[in-house]
């Protein structure tokens, strides 16, 4: 345990896919323990209506593999490591979350999946909307058609 206080600020970086952001949550470490924090609308670009935590994913399993029409998501690595892949139908990107506090902001209209969960991986997700099956696009072909309708030439 460190004897001095150590703090990092919230950091946001863009990715190869427009709108998708890589975040590092702010951390404070002092003799009483560690604290990692974030504020909605200030650090995280929306206010959540829902959250969920994914855990004990068997190695080899892929989760996600869908897009949301309206829902924003913010994926935070809580422990272990996993890979988050994302695409807007043209550009694709991928990031390995391997430290507690690393996060990905996924705006609506992005195809996203998660894989290579380590045994101890825990992924915490904030969502801007309540669960609504109508907001999901679960087939990639249907996603590309939907994207084409949303972005006419």
């Amino acid at each position: 345990m460190r004897r001095f206080s150590h703090a990092t600020r919230h950091v946001v970086r863009s990715t190869r896919v427009p709108g998708v952001q890589l975040h590092h949550l702010a951390k404070v470490q002092d003799p009483r323990g560690g604290l990692c924090a974030g504020e909605f609308l200030r650090d995280i670009p929306f206010v959540p209506k829902r959250f969920f935590l994914v855990f004990e994913v068997p190695n080899g399993k892929i989760r996600g593999e869908h897009a949301h029409k309206k829902c924003h998501q913010f994926l935070v690595c809580m422990s272990g490591a996993l890979t988050v892949s994302f695409s807007d139908g043209e550009k694709t990107g991928s990031v390995k979350l391997k430290r507690f506090g690393q996060a990905v902001y996924v705006p609506p209209g992005i195809w996203c999946s998660q894989k290579n969960y380590t045994r101890d991986a825990m992924l915490f997700v904030f969502a801007s909307d309540y669960y609504d099956p109508k907001d999901y696009i679960r087939e990639y072909k249907a996603y590309l058609k939907w994207k084409a309708r949303m972005s006419p030439l």
Copy 2:
């Protein structure tokens, strides 16, 4: 890993201190892994503006030890175990969170502290307001005076 799906609903129980609630988050376990979820205003009594995660708390350290005047908090055990104690100045209660998904709702005006963190304990907290040092009452005597002013005979 279980081969069948297993789900539990969100459960809320009252405690000895009026307003303070013990929650168990809903869980779904299936061959793709585990999922634990909650919805704000439906399961959790407020919409958060802030969250923080407490981790690597040295054994013997006590955290919290304050009350909020206006801010609601929802404390979720993410891993390990810890004890949450709470009081309204008259009645006191305590609960050991020892399973992932066990949580305590702490309304404004409750004195609250956390102790007996195990080495692997992680406590996730949702707060209804942004950080504001003026909302904290950090001394128990001052808290009792504030309570007396809030609840005149």
